[in-house]
Each structure stands twice: as structure tokens, then as C-alpha cells.
């Protein structure tokens, strides 16, 4: 069956992560960015800036790298596979919650998209070094929560949470 929603919780973080997702408290502050369709020059800037903001908070290097990789892969996906969109990073004192919304065209089947190696990337995207079909698995590997809503012809919504410890 084709699902238009995907949820993942890292087992070791599940109780606090679920509590966070249910309550969605007000962040200390947020950062927002827009992402242009196929803008391979500027894409990645938001990820570096979010990483830098957390670095200033004193977040550990291992966590910073996980945030950077997960956010970067998702930012690239909006650039490469959608008509553009935006990112909002909600910064808390114990975690970061990053939300990606794009302007479609959506995924046919989220579970298929999550499969390592599955990619619909065209020649232009592949020439840039993308299209291995490893981005979404890489986001899952690095995130404590991953939630995606998408279907063919609709916008894609992706949110992830990473705790600082």
C-alpha cells in the first residue's frame, strides 16, 4: 500500500521525542530560509548557518555534524527534486527541530523513496554528484525524529528533530 506519511523515531530517544512532538513548545528562536529550484550555487547555505548557530550554543561536534548532514541532505532534496520551498529551524536549548516545505511535485511513494539506492535524479543532478539515492536514508541515520508527508502532485513536508545529547 502506498502511504503518504512516514514516521521514524530513534528508539533510544523515543519517549522524550514523542513528548516533544506532541507538545511542540515555542522555540527559543527560529531561523528561516528560502530554497530556489535547482539553485545549486546557493543551496547548502542554510545548513551551514544552522550548524553555526548551534555551534555558538556550544553544541557538541558529533551532534553538529549529524545536524549538518541531515539538514543538508534535505535542503539538497528540495533544490534538486522540487520547485523550491523553505526551511525553518526551531532552536531549543536541548534540541533542534527543522521543517522543510516545498512547492511540489511530491513523491509517488515515500517508502520507495526511503529505500537506499532509489533515485529519480536526472542527468543534471547526477553530474553535480547527487542521485545515489542515499540522501533520505542518511537523514534517517542522523535524525532522532523524521516525519515526511508527501504524495504525487502535492507538496512535500519533511521535519526532523535532533537532540543535543
Amino acid at each position: 500500500m502506498i502511504m503518504s506519511e512516514f514516521w521514524y523515531y530513534r528508539e533510544s530517544k523515543e519517549p522524550e521525542a514523542k513528548k516533544f512532538m506532541e507538545n511542540k513548545p515555542e522555540p527559543d528562536y527560529d531561523l528561516s530560509y528560502s530554497i530556489g529550484e535547482r539553485d545549486f550555487v546557493n543551496t547548502g547555505k542554510a545548513s551551514s548557518e544552522i550548524k553555526l548557530a548551534l555551534k555558538r550554543l556550544g553544541v557538541d561536534n558529533t551532534i553538529l555534524r549529524r545536524v549538518a548532514i541531515a539538514v543538508y541532505e534535505a535542503e539538497i532534496n528540495v533544490t534538486a527534486h522540487s520547485r523550491g520551498g523553505n526551511i525553518i529551524a526551531n532552536i531549543y536549548d536541548n534540541c533542534v527541530h527543522v521543517v522543510f516545505k516545498d512547492n511540489g511535485p511530491g513523491m509517488k511513494d515515500i517508502n520507495q523513496s526511503m529505500e537506499p539506492g532509489f533515485s529519480t535524479a536526472d542527468e543534471m543532478i547526477r553530474e553535480m554528484g547527487f542521485g545515489a539515492g542515499l540522501g533520505l536514508p542518511n537523514i534517517k541515520k542522523n535524525a532522532d525524529v523524521l516525519h515526511i508527508e508527501s504524495q504525487e502532485g502535492a507538496n512535500t513536508f519533511l521535519e526532523l528533530v535532533i537532540f543535543y545529547e
Partner: protein, 115 residues
């Protein structure tokens, strides 16, 4: 392996003239796939690649790179060299293929990075 030695072994050209290259490189990774390269998170790495677009430099914002070696004589644009200089990231150009570059460095004792 000192980065100066790496350049010599690869008959390489240093593209970032003002960036310090007196650094000790402990491991390397070769790939033309960004998602693949992003798996190198365990230790700082010297990247060997044929990719020359701006996203290769952005990788250095996400993971720890000692520097980037562009293989097959693929020269990046001045814009990209500037991006790297801003990050103190050494860029090296070699005519050798990815396979040959990897072989030379591996035989010189440079380890493969842990993933």
C-alpha cells in the same frame, strides 16, 4: 602524511596559494557521490574527487576535510577556489585518475578513512 608530500606524490598543483599546507593528513576517501562522501564522519579526511561544483566546497562546512584533490585534471573555477580560500581549505589539482591517485597515496601509507 604531510600535505606537501601528497602534492609532490601526485605531481599536483596547489590551487589555493595562501592556504597553509603544512598539515598532517591521516586518511583519505575517494568518491564522486556527495551522499557517499557525507558518510565520512568519523575522522577528518582528505577528499579525492572528480566533482568540481560549489557543493563540493560546501561539504567542508558539513564534515571535516583536510583538503580536496581534484583528479583527472578537472580544474575548478576561480569562484570555487575563492570559496575554498575563505574556508582555509587547501585545493590540489592532479592529472591522475581517481584510481591512480588513490593507489599512489595508499602505497605511500595514507590510510583509507573509517566510515
Amino acid at each position: 602524511m604531510n600535505l606537501k608530500k601528497v602534492i609532490k606524490a601526485l605531481n599536483g598543483e596547489l590551487l589555493t596559494k595562501d592556504v597553509n599546507i603544512d598539515i598532517d593528513v591521516t586518511c583519505a576517501f575517494g568518491s564522486d557521490l556527495i551522499s557517499d562522501i557525507l558518510h565520512c564522519t568519523k575522522e577528518p579526511t582528505l577528499l579525492l574527487t572528480g566533482l568540481t561544483n560549489p557543493q563540493v566546497i560546501r561539504l567542508a562546512d558539513m564534515i571535516d576535510l583536510f583538503g580536496i584533490v581534484f583528479v583527472r585534471g578537472k580544474r575548478p573555477t576561480d569562484e570555487i577556489i575563492k570559496m575554498a580560500a575563505k574556508r582555509d581549505l587547501p585545493l590540489i589539482l592532479t592529472k591522475f585518475t581517481l584510481y591512480k591517485t588513490s593507489g599512489i597515496l595508499y602505497n605511500s601509507g595514507l590510510a583509507s578513512c573509517k566510515i
